[in-house]
Symmetry: C2
């Protein structure tokens, strides 16, 4: 029950030691992002569309500008591959061949379909706001019926998934270690800048309303995971 | 000549004011990233694979772990859609419907094929190292013939491309502006952390060797653009 067992399409072909398929790791990497890329096919042409998503159990949701084309003419179901990736660092080895990156990436396979039920749509859209800004839904005006109808909501069960993680220092050839060149890791993370109030904001309104986790220089991936009750970095599957 | 004219597949279906197709903007957004996501189809199944890439003129290159599956059984050409995306901020409006993100995204269509010529491969792989770490090639040992043969290099001409950019504050409904809720932008950027020397690094070797641009707290996208002679942020196509 805790494995999202991969078929051939989700199984890693190379560097299998970097792969993980357990549900906790899949969820942890998914929960650390808000933007994914979705691959789908229309008329034989592959498309790769960035979109914001969120998770509830083993179901993913998304909405937004890409949706009209994505589900255009596809009726109830469109096979997709959804991938979310973090770059955690550049790995500088003594040779180009051993240079690498530290990263966390999750690839999910499933069938996307539109959610038509308005109550379900309202609940899911609220969950998306809360996932980013805990407590904000109660402070915002409610969506109008027109807004809910104008929003296309897509749901997808996670049918199969795999995670790939690389972390840690470079792995050089023994013979290269004595070279007089610096080697190591340059860490990279998405971090938060200083909040920019809307120019139309009346005086005297402090941030609040779900912005509390967005402290300057905080890591975005850690905020996202904490917002859904996750811990810190996911289990590392290997180097 | 300065337009990469979109056909139907690259043309934005929604929010066309956010779209841009000029070559300078396409290149600028491509040059600000090192990891993209590539959509392709094998046996009718779409895949979305993250991979590092680099640009030379209107040609993109990539290599790495995904390549063996991506070109497996495809012979000389595989139609792909390659997308690179930056999240620049979370846009908090007074209503959920008007919440958004600031981002830059470029979507490129083309046909990927393997580069077999070994001299071409060596040149391109050197260019990749230099693109990330200017001056590093001269300080590293040269790739062996075995390493070059073990590396699959993929090239793709940019056949069509489009850029989507959102920037600036939220756009709220007039009636919502008086609500007593904070609205504005939470900026997000990929930033550099403190360099982590390899545990096997002999004493007395300072970073150097192409690491100079990676100053703590610097923005990764700006380093990447500066490394290829680009300016700062690309022209903004609209809000």
């Amino acid at each position: 029950m805790n494995q999202i067992v991969p078929s051939a399409r989700a199984r890693l072909k190379r560097l299998a030691k970097r792969g993980a398929y357990d549900r906790a790791t899949v969820h942890a990497v998914l929960d650390a992002s808000v933007v994914c890329h979705i691959a789908y096919v229309l008329d034989g042409q592959p498309y790769c569309t960035p979109t914001a998503y969120w998770r509830e159990g083993d179901r993913l949701y998304w909405h937004g500008s890409s949706v009209s084309r994505m589900l255009q003419g596809q009726g109830a179901g469109l096979p997709v591959c959804l991938t979310a990736t973090h770059i955690d660092g550049l790995v500088l080895a003594r040779s180009g061949f051993n240079c690498s990156m530290n990263y966390r990436s999750v690839m999910v396979f499933g069938t996307a379909s539109k959610v038509e039920d308005e109550a379900h749509k309202r609940e899911a859209l609220d969950a998306y706001v809360e996932r980013l800004f805990p407590g904000r839904v109660a402070a915002m005006r409610r969506p109008t019926d027109k807004e809910v109808r104008a929003t296309a909501l897509i749901a997808m069960e996670i049918e199969e998934a795999s995670v790939k993680i690389r972390s840690g220092p470079p792995h050089d050839d023994e013979d290269d270690l004595a070279a007089g060149i610096w080697a190591g890791v340059i860490p990279i993370a998405e971090t938060i800048g200083a909040l920019q109030p809307c120019p139309l904001l009346p005086a005297g309104i402090a941030p609040g309303a779900g912005t509390e986790p967005y402290v300057r220089d905080a890591r975005f991936d850690e905020i996202l995971r904490a917002n859904v009750g996750g811990g810190l970095a996911p289990v590392e599957a290997g180097e």
